[in-house]
Structure formats: C-alpha cells, structure tokens
Amino acid sequence: MPTNPFNGFTDFGVGIGLRVPHYQHILSEKPVVSWFEIISENYMIDGGRPLHVLDQILERYRVVQHGVSMYFGSPEPPNREHLKRLKALVKRTKTPWLTDHLCWGSVDGTYSHDLLPMPYTFEAARHTAQKIREVRDFLEIPVAVENVSSYAEFHVSEMTEWQFLTEVVELADCGILLDVNNIYVSSRNHSFDPLDYVNSVPTERVAQIHIAGHSKFEKYILDTHDHPVIDPVWKLYQRAIERAGRTATLLEWDDNIPSFEEVHNEALKANQFVAEMAVAS
C-alpha cells in the first residue's frame, strides 16, 4: 500500500545507483537487487554500449531515472532537446517516477554542470514550481525534486531551506526525493539542526530517499558520494522513515567506487531501520 499519494512504490525497498564499474558484475552474476537508479543524462544518447547495457539491465531489473541537469531553478524555460531525449528514455525505461534536483545550474543556455543552490525566496519558489509543472506535463510521469547539498547561503533568502522545499512542492504539486545525506551536509555547512529539517518536511510528498557518504574538510563538508554512510546520516534516515513510512531508498556511491557487494551491503543496512520501524509500530 502506498504510504502517501506521491509514494506508490513502497515495495521498491532498497536500491543502488547503476555505475559503469559494476556493469560486468551485474550482467554476469545477476545479483538480486530490488532496483537500480540511473543517471538519466548518461543514457540520453543515440546508441552504443551504454544503451545496450541499459537494455540488458531493464530485462531483469526495475530502473528509476534520476537527472542532474534539468535545473528547475534556472531562469530559462526547459530545453526542448533535453526534454525530448528525456521522454524517449522514460519510454525506454518505463521509470515509474522521475527525479531531479531542486537547484539551478545554467543561465541563458550556458551550463555550469553543477547543482547550484537556490535563493530561498517566494519569487524563486514560484518560478521553480512552474518549471517543474511544465516538465511533469511534458513527460507525463510523477516528478520528485531532491534537496541538494549547499555551501553558500544568500542574503535575499526569505525562509529556511525546508520551508522553501515545502513551498516549491506545494506550488508544483510534486513529490520529494529526500536526501538525508544532503540535509546533514548542509546542516553542518550552515549550522542548523538537521532534525529540524527532517521533522518539517511534508512527509505526504516524500516519494524516495537518498543516502550517501561525504567528505569532511576543516571548515566545511563536501558532498562527494565516496564513503560509506555515517551514523548521524543513518539516524536522519531512521527519523525520515519513522515519519514517512516505508519509502523507496537509494544509496549513491559515485567516486572511489568499491566492489558491487560492498556498495550493495552498505545500501542494505537501510533494511534494519525499516525492520525496527515495523517492530516499533
């Protein structure tokens, strides 16, 4: 049973990101994995090995698409070529929902290839929500937006990040991909209590949760996806599922990628929190 209107996929359980170093292992060993998340842009191409591998994965596994360059908060309207390629991929993967980031990254068609933070203003929320609606209407599938890690805050901000996230998703009537690692990273960089964030998120819109590792520097934390998940992030995850119920969960590991087993085992740790939640309820 869906735990909320934006989460019809509670049976997805725990998945991992599909990454090139694991292709061979997955195709030859056919490990049991609940689902894979793919980076959409890696497969928005015309042909060749990436699509060939994806098609083989699709024969056996469920795949959910996660984008990194829709830039809902950028000033320009959605790029038509981007949308067309994305929709073609949506048809290929039959992804039940699609996610991208609540951020911006381009101006007038010039791309930074980064997930730049939004100023938390009502103007930005309205603009971003409108673009999310346009993308969702074009793609004709549910869309959920992910909170990003950030290293800067703006003078003009009129609300907290979690208030901004709520404002945007309410205006756009879309789901949330709640990244609890990003909440932790931003909480350390901007000195807020990450539990305040998790406790404030409108759980009825949480469609998916991300977990990941990060790197700690002297004065800030960087979201590098190159380590195991740390305990404080697991605690945020625990609290998130206490509030949102069973939710499709995905471990991201993008750099210094260890063996498939190591990544998968790290992801499966999430199940113990789900089990504890079931016992408690």
């Binding site: 015309d46 090995r49 360059s69 101006v107 068609g109 930074s112 290839h113 980064d114 603009h127 960087l222």
Partner: protein
Amino acid sequence: MNLLEIQQRMLAAVMQPLTSHERMQPRSRDGKSMHEVAAEFIKPNDRLSSFERLEIYNRQYWFRVLASLDEDFPGLRAIIGQRRFEALCKAYLVDCPSQSFSLRNLGSGLETWLRSHPEHIQPRATLALDMVCLEWAEIEAFDGASEPVLLPGDALASDPDPHFRLQPYLQLISLRYPVDDLLVAIRKDTPDGGMASNAVSEHRKQTRVRKVARQKPQAVFLVVHRIDYSVYFKRIEQEAFKFLHALQEGQSLSSGVVLAFQGRDIPETVLVSRVQNWFESWSSLGWFCQPSAATQEFISPTGNQS
C-alpha cells in the same frame, strides 16, 4: 537583487578561471574585488567568508570541466604536454563554455576553436588537430545511433543504381598524420590507476614524448567504427574513402564510383573487383543499414527514383 541577477552574477563568478594556485581570482574580469562581488549576494558564516563560500563552487566547476576534457582528449594532452593542455582547455572553456546539458558534448567545438587559436598547439598544429579530430570522432562513434544492418536480399538489391546508407555512428576522417597508431600507443602507456612508481611514470612520459616526436606526416584515410559496442579504427584506401564519403553524402552507387576513381585510368574489371571487395568487407562489418521507409517510398518498383 532578483533571482536572475543573482544567477547571472554567480555563474560569471563560478566560471571565472582559477589562479595558478587553483584559488578564486581576487578580482573579476572588469576589475572588481571578488570579495566585494561575493559579499553582495552570499552570506558569510562563522568559518567561511562570502568569498570562500563562492570559491568552493568556482573550484568545483573548473575541476569538473577540466577533468572531463582530460578524459576525452588524452591524445592531445600527450602531444602538447600536460601544462599546455591545461592552459588550452581553460582558454577554450572561457571562449566556449558548455552549451549542452551533457558534459559529453563539452569538447564538440574544440577542433573549430583550435583552428582559430593555433598558438596553443604550435609547432605541431597539424598533428594536434588530427588528434583532436580523431578523439572527437571516437566519442561520436561510441554512442552514435545504429540502425538495422542491410542484409542480402533487402530492397536495394533490385535497384540498378542504389543509394546505400551508412550506419549513423560511422565516422570518416582523413588525416595527415598516423594519429590512430599514436593514440593506441598513448593509451597503452597510460596507467589505469595510481599504482605506478614515479620512476615508471617518468619512463612512460618520456616514451610518449619520443613517440610524439617521431611522428612523420602520412596520409591516412580512416573509418572509426564499432564492433560489439567497442570502437575500432580501420584504415582504408583513398579511393575507398572517397567512395564511402560519397555514399555518406547521399550519392548513388554509380556516382560514388565515379567520384572515387575520378582521374584514374583503371580497367573496368579491376574497378568492379575492387568495389566488390570493399562491399564484402564493409558488409561483414555491418556498415550499411537498411533503407529508411522514406527512401523506399521514392524508389519505384522498376528501381527508378520518382
């Protein structure tokens, strides 16, 4: 400051080249203090100034885009050296920042840009341009579209002067240096990980330098193609190259033959035999694809184009 103004200012700052110590420039291009620029829209915190917070994004941008070009153009890097390659990439990205949602397309304008900025590749400009052309062709061949392969008995067989369509992923390039061999050699010498000692790395570097220095001009006609999703280089004769090029441009079989052998006095039997050999070889590699529905509509049952 509204949303658009913040985004324009931040993007300009993020894309401004780093200093030689990989830090954010103290001044913007128009001479403003970057401390002041950053303080106008970014809050400081108890550990980082506005400048330092903006600098995190500035550094991330350059590390990301430079790593992408570094991965895509190892041959060019080997020819001009690491330091000049980095300077070239920075200058290119300042002039041609990414206009695509995908980093895959970051180097799409590099060859054209280098033609108008040869100072970055002198004195081996021709060699370097050939290498960039090959490395971009490899990217295009890797993930280009493929279509169903033409089989014996497909509709074209009944057309007396058919138009053969080549696989969209096929890249035809004429080179003035044998950079195909050089790129293979460079890849062989490049360690996959950081396991090599300094002495081994230095030896490999010197080997690469020697290989580049030894390069002599040689006309090469190359097809960059795919077999089982891996990219390969195949050298072909000049006439074959002209012929394939004509087919790729939409010329018919007979027009392709005329263009390929223009000015050559070759007996017809030899000519027919050569073309037949080409077709056998290229068909076995799957280079021809089935006619599109649109093309078939224009071919009447008698084979005449309407």
